[in-house]
């Protein structure tokens, strides 16, 4: 069979290497590059938002365009940037970490990836259609797509819903593949309690995706039904209830936060241990925390809906169960500190981003506790406090985490060292830029500035201007990362050693940098 001969270490030539890829490293790289490109697109949209909010009165965007920009910013960042980047890391690393030659189902793997660009095209296509006079632009109902707004929205909403169906299919296929790889492809001797923390974090992530994404797919199908086929799922006139959409969305949406977070929480101990030159502290505690976070995350969703009108008993239940999640999350923090404790630390770029992650995600988590209080949430919910919290939790957490991961593995993947000076500049501009952008938004929120509104009262001007100017710095600093990545891909810079970092451990650092096209043709034996 010719297929088995193809384990020779020579990638196929030409464009079909990528289009027809079955190699987990190639597919992983495509996921990463696609995710980073979408990160820049989403970032550009964020800069448009901040440009509009730089001063009061409407200058840059129309209110309709503003709604569309914030909606697409959210959808692109969550589904286009973060999920593909974490999936790319999973594809590249999991087979290496468990000692497998490839993912369990390589063709399915490629299908999962190639469903993403069509989804991205469908999402932005309505802007193009508007130019030729069809529709009113893309979806404008917010990334949460709340009914009845999303039901009354223009044709762009249908494109977005279908994009969500494609994304769901993609995520489900990728998750099946990851679970099967972890269950089935481990090298002899690689027991479940020996696999690296990152692999565990992705196992829980993939299980969560399978447990919740089909619910969102069912939900958007019902939205299309309400829009075009006369159903009344979310309309009281037919006995339905718009709040039902919120339940469906957040049944998906809350676990989604952990779907974004867990893979980066899984990379964290690897990086911390490497640069503290110590073994990972509390492996089992972290694994059990991931499991507990996974279970809890599917039973707390309605804490996003305290202001939507629910019975008091429901509010109290969702408040308490949400607060309970802080326990396993605190265990993770404890283990990260334990790993750092009395370590011989050095502060290369990945370590800086990892420490930044701990600080910023810590702030995101603690402000989350404020919002989880059902009574306090009445005050904070529709304000910039929530926007600031969300960005501390999702930029401060997953994005800082994936940037740390990208710097950590860039020399391994490309075989070249990035520029440490530029890396450090990137970190400090990003870290300071982020805080100066979003810290004022906590204050704006407490002062009562509502979210999602393109204009604001005069008393909010100063803080908004600070936030906007800093957001431009934050956005521009990401280009330094792009420069570093391009430099490494072009083969400039020092050669990376096999171990890359002096304190690095793990199967991936026993391989050459870059690793051969097919890592393990025969399984390694793990003692």
């Amino acid at each position: 069979m010719s297929a088995t001969e193809h384990t020779a270490d020579s990638p196929p030539r030409g464009i079909t290497r990528w289009l027809y890829a079955t190699n987990h490293k190639d597919i992983g790289k495509m996921y990463l590059l696609f995710g980073i490109a979408m990160f820049l697109v989403g970032g550009l949209l964020a800069e448009l938002i901040r440009a509009e909010l730089l001063t009061p009165t409407m200058r840059v965007l129309s209110p309709e365009a503003y709604d569309q920009v914030i909606t697409v910013h959210g959808l692109v960042m969550v589904f286009g940037a973060l999920m593909p980047i974490t999936a790319g890391l999973a594809n590249y690393l999991i087979p290496i970490m468990v000692g497998a030659p490839d993912m369990a189902l390589p063709r399915l793997n490629n299908w999962g990836f190639w469903l993403l660009p069509p989804a991205a095209i469908l999402l932005v296509m309505p802007w193009g259609l508007k130019l030729i006079g069809i529709g009113s632009g893309t979806i404008d109902a917010g990334w949460t797509m709340y009914a009845p707004l999303s039901i009354q929205s223009g044709p762009g909403a249908d494109f977005a819903f279908i994009a969500v169906l494609l994304l769901g299919l993609s995520s489900t296929m990728a998750s099946i593949n990851i679970i099967v790889t972890i269950i089935n492809q481990r090298a002899p001797g690689m027991t479940m309690m020996k696999v690296p923390v990152f692999v565990w974090s992705w196992l829980i992530t993939a299980l969560l995706l399978i447990a919740v994404f089909p619910a969102l797919m069912a939900g958007v199908i019902m939205l299309v039904g309400d829009r075009h086929f006369g159903t009344h799922f979310f309309s009281a006139a037919g006995g339905g209830d718009p709040v039902l959409w919120e339940h469906i969305f957040w049944f998906f949406g809350h676990p989604e936060v952990y779907i974004l977070l867990l893979p980066t929480a899984g990379i964290m101990p690897h990086i911390l241990a490497t640069f503290a030159r110590k073994p990972i502290y509390g492996y089992k505690a972290q694994v059990y925390s991931f499991c507990l976070i996974g279970v809890l995350s599917v039973v707390v969703w309605a804490h996003h809906m305290f202001t939507s009108g629910m019975p008091t008993a429901a509010n109290i239940y969702f408040m308490l169960s949400t607060m309970a999640i802080s326990v396993p999350v605190a265990v993770l923090f404890f283990c990260w500190f334990g790993t750092l404790w009395r370590g011989a630390m050095s502060f290369e770029t990945p370590m800086l981003f990892a420490l930044g992650y701990i600080v910023l995600f810590g702030i995101g988590g603690l402000t989350g506790l404020v919002l989880s209080d059902a009574a306090a949430d009445q005050q904070y919910h529709n304000t910039y406090f929530l926007v600031a919290h969300f960005h501390y939790a999702l930029f401060g957490g997953p994005i800082m985490g994936v940037i740390a991961g990208i710097y950590y593995y860039l020399p391994k993947v490309t075989g070249r060292m990035y520029s440490e000076t530029i890396g450090r500049w990137h970190f400090w501009l990003c870290f300071i830029g982020f805080n100066v952008t979003f810290m004022p938004q906590f204050l704006l929120g407490v002062a009562g500035m509502p979210r999602r509104i393109p204009d604001y009262a005069l008393q909010f001007s100063h803080l908004n201007m600070i936030s906007s100017i800093s957001a431009f710095v934050l956005g521009a600093s990401q280009l330094l990362m792009v420069y570093n990545i391009v430099r490494c891909i072009r083969g400039e810079g020092e050669r990376a050693s096999d171990q890359v970092w002096t304190g690095a451990r793990g199967l991936e650092f026993t391989l050459p940098s870059p690793p051969p096209f097919h890592t393990f043709q025969t399984p390694p034996v793990v003692n």
Partner: protein, 291 residues
């Protein structure tokens, strides 16, 4: 060189394949066509039809390739386990999909309707805000603004359909036992009977839909009852159709002489799916038609 558990010296990694990206492109066309059509852009028929045809073609070629690899003995125990786990998790995701639809049914029936009706209670402090002061909780309900309709009796076609699907579960198990015993005749007849029962189910279900639309006044727009009724039974019917196509492919392979008493994952995958569809129907019968 140490051997992989399952007797392979080499892992199997497939060659680069055009099918995944083609399938993604086909699904893009399907989605594009659907997005155009629901917005009354009739041009959408072209990508919809093209995408549908391409999906069918690619799936045929892709599965054909996998079947060819199976026949050539490219797969070992590890690949076999990967396929099994893969199918199992795929069915799990389908279970979540249907569980969400059932969740919607329970929510509309037990939370949304009573809540809406609670505004009409004269003693309620909210009664002055009642948008429909005369609306009272009941099930089935088309909602406060719905037109009257009648429901499908569970003891007519639905009960018969339950019997048909349960029998098809028996016939496919009978076919499986035949396959394992090396009795090819039983395999073929068992599969053919199962497909026939599935097709009968679909025909009866289509007649029931026609009856609902034509005589009972029960349509997609009959409030939450109509919406949940048709989305649950409709998606179930779609899954029966997919299952019947799978079984037909398995039957065609069986006639060509595929499958051995020991090694027949293609058959098992289709039969797992069929049993899953069967269980969903039982839930439907109880919660949609009966209770």
């Amino acid at each position: 060189m140490s051997a992989v558990p399952g007797g392979h010296d080499h892992y199997f990694v497939p060659e680069p394949s055009p099918y995944p990206i083609l399938l993604a492109g086909a699904i893009f066309l399907l989605g594009l066509g659907a997005a155009f059509l629901v917005n009354s852009i009739t041009l959408g028929w072209a990508p919809l039809a093209g995408g549908g045809g391409l999906v069918a073609y690619v799936l045929y070629r892709w599965f054909g390739r996998v079947i060819g690899e199976t026949r050539a003995g490219a797969y070992g125990l590890q690949e076999d386990r990967a396929f099994r786990w893969g199918m199992m998790w795929f069915i799990t995701s389908e279970v979540v999909f249907f569980a969400s639809l059932f969740g919607v049914l329970f929510y509309e029936r037990n939370i949304a309707i009573p809540w809406l009706a609670s505004f009409s209670d004269a003693h309620s402090p909210l009664s002055t805000y009642a948008p429909w002061p005369t609306f009272h909780a009941a099930w089935p309900s088309g909602g406060p603004a719905g037109k009257p309709f009648a429901t499908v009796s569970p003891w007519g076609i639905p009960a018969l359909n339950t019997l048909i699907l349960l029998s098809s579960g028996v016939t496919i198990t009978w076919a499986h036992a035949g396959l394992r015993a090396g009795n090819r005749g039983r395999l073929g007849w068992g599969l053919a009977l199962t497909i026939l029962l599935g097709a009968t189910f679909l025909v009866l279900q289509a007649r029931e839909f026609a009856h609902a639309y034509g005589e009972l006044g029960l349509t997609l727009s009959s409030g939450v009852y109509g919406a949940t009724f048709f989305i649950l039974t409709g998606f179930h019917g779609l899954h029966v159709t997919v299952g019947a196509i799978m079984l037909s492919a398995v039957l065609a392979r069986a006639i060509k002489g595929d499958f051995t008493p020991q090694d027949h994952f293609g058959f098992e995958a289709a039969s797992w799916y069929w049993h899953f569809v069967d269980v969903v129907w039982l839930m439907l019968f109880v919660f949609v038609y009966w209770l």
